[in-house]
Symmetry: C2
Subunit: 341 residues, 2 copies
């Protein structure tokens, strides 16, 4: 692990000045092809490695983007982060990624660390909750930053918000269940008071109201185990319920599991179930799970494009962006599945 060669070493080996080496590094047109070749050969021979940090010190713009995610163990967020990271990588940016485990204090800490590391911008899928969240630190540093998937900071002028159109999604799902003949449709999962829950509930409530049906909301921590437990509770306490719109796919997949456990049939003739997000597992469960497709991979790519346009082209994103969603109908809610695209 000796000292890495620098442009000075390269310059010496190639017999030019270090400025010339720098220009070659930047593919400047004002270096003779011959000289360029000599410099490149010297770099190869010495095993030269470009030091981006040093370069950025002078020119600014490290090519690092910070990704701060509330729960990376949830496949929905994982898929978002991965597609975003890969899109950034394609454009020559690297992603510094951190999981905050739904903890605002941890979020504030990792945001601070990322700012020190010189990220050019931040994408935050924030943890709920108050106190120090890190957004103030971002504002002080004057960095471009977006909040995605959830809005927790009201300053959308500073921190533009982007997320799939959740209310439209639950509207589509509820309409579908009504059309299939369900009359007692429960909403399962989601913690009340949180933005995403409220939005997903809104479309459900509005649609039921329009159809003259009564809502039944059964909130809770939205994981598989909760969904699984809910199968029994639903059967025992609310036997009249003939359909469940779940807060997310994890709850829905758990509910599916729980129905298998208690021997309750799922789908037409049994309990109709619809999830939300359309993560990959939905297509592989039995029965396959209907879900509101958020195209999270496409969303991640779009966010990458947006943040890069902001960083590189100074194009400020709109304060709020809510891309459309659609409904994928599978056997868990209907006899006639929609065609998969």
């Amino acid at each position: 692990m000796e000292r890495r060669p620098t442009i000075i070493d390269v310059a010496r080996a190639a017999g030019v000045s270090k400025s010339t080496v720098s220009l070659v590094l930047q593919n400047s047109a004002s270096v003779r092809a011959e000289t360029r070749a000599a410099v490149r050969a010297a770099m190869e021979a010495l095993g030269y490695v470009y030091n981006r940090a040093a370069a950025n010190l002078r020119s600014s713009g490290a090519g690092l983007i910070g990704l701060v995610i509330n729960d990376l163990r949830n496949p929905f967020f994982t898929e978002f982060a991965i597609s975003l990271q890969m899109a950034l990588s394609e454009r020559g940016f690297a992603a510094v990624l951190a999981n905050t485990d739904e903890t605002p204090a941890l979020q504030a800490q990792v945001i601070g660390a990322m700012i020190e590391h010189g990220v050019s911008a931040l994408i935050v899928s924030p943890a709920y909750g108050g106190g120090e969240t890190g957004f103030d630190a971002i504002a002080r540093a004057g960095l471009p930053a977006m909040q995605v998937l959830r809005r927790v900071d009201g300053r959308t002028d500073l921190f533009p918000f982007a997320a799939p159109d959740y209310p439209a999604g639950s509207r589509l799902a509820t309409e579908h269940l009504i059309a299939e003949g369900a009359r007692n449709i429960a909403f399962v999962g989601g913690l009340e008071g949180r933005m995403v829950t409220e939005e997903r509930l809104a479309g459900y409530r509005a649609t039921l109201a329009g159809a003259g049906l009564a809502p039944l909301v059964l909130p809770g921590r939205s994981g598989r185990s909760m969904g699984r437990a809910m199968a029994r509770r639903l059967a025992e306490d609310h036997p009249e319920v003939d359909a469940a719109l779940c807060f997310n796919d994890q709850v829905a997949l758990g509910l599916l599991s729980g129905c298998a456990e208690i021997g309750r049939p799922v789908g037409p003739g049994g309990l109709r179930i619809v999830g939300f997000d359309d993560i990959e597992d939905c297509a592989q469960s039995w029965p396959p799970l209907s879900s509101v497709r958020c195209d999270i991979a496409g969303f991640g790519q779009a966010v990458a494009a947006t943040i890069l346009a902001w960083v590189e082209g100074d194009v400020t994103p709109p304060a709020e962006d809510r891309p459309a969603v659609d409904l994928v109908i599978r056997a868990s809610s209907a006899a006639q599945p929609s065609k998969e695209r």
Copy 2:
């Protein structure tokens, strides 16, 4: 987005020299408490942000660790990456993370980018396949790097290898199935010739041979859809098979799904199924899935400790480290589950 204040601005505001500010930044004991307070106050007032890149230019050691993972959409790898990242974060290091989608060329590219970004070390869960993999570039840069979960580069002196003890895992699982009375045990999934498949197969084959039983290996791309399809194939082509040891949990969960689809019972009296890795979903499926527990979260934390000891303490890891695994028995393979810890 004006120019951020530097230590010079802070020094001016606090009426000291910039060296003093630097010393305060490093919590040096040789600065009077009074002066320290004045400097801190000035930093606060100016909204000073420490520029780690600049500092590292001089002192070297950016506090960045690169994480290069073959398939981050697979929960097993996700969990590994997340627990590693969080452990690093706790120790003041940030993780640059990239998914390589099982593509060696992409892997080589992201490794190159990370080296330029000045990572202090790399953790690589490598993609299989030849050509340029990026390991040569790491060697040229003289960076500490470990290969984890899979070994693809033979130079374990340069790139120490760490992974759960796969052969022991399949041995445990196979012994368990035999003890439960299974006599026709299939191994499902895994692509032949790959290191992990071969190791997981080895324990299976050895144990069967010891018991005088014949192996049946049904390899394939190890996702849920493959497992699901395999349920039908198993029932039609190999009706005598009474147990399946799966390459990983994804295959096993798919197989579970497929058995539900074709109406074949799973567990004692039906097809006994054991997965591998023990991802979180195992406990939530129906029936719950037995699996070889690799404690991937603990493994990620251990790898974090190892790489930091290498980077900070110059402790080179052993060429090969194979932490022990155990078997979690659930209803998919036995009437009497093991106690969950």
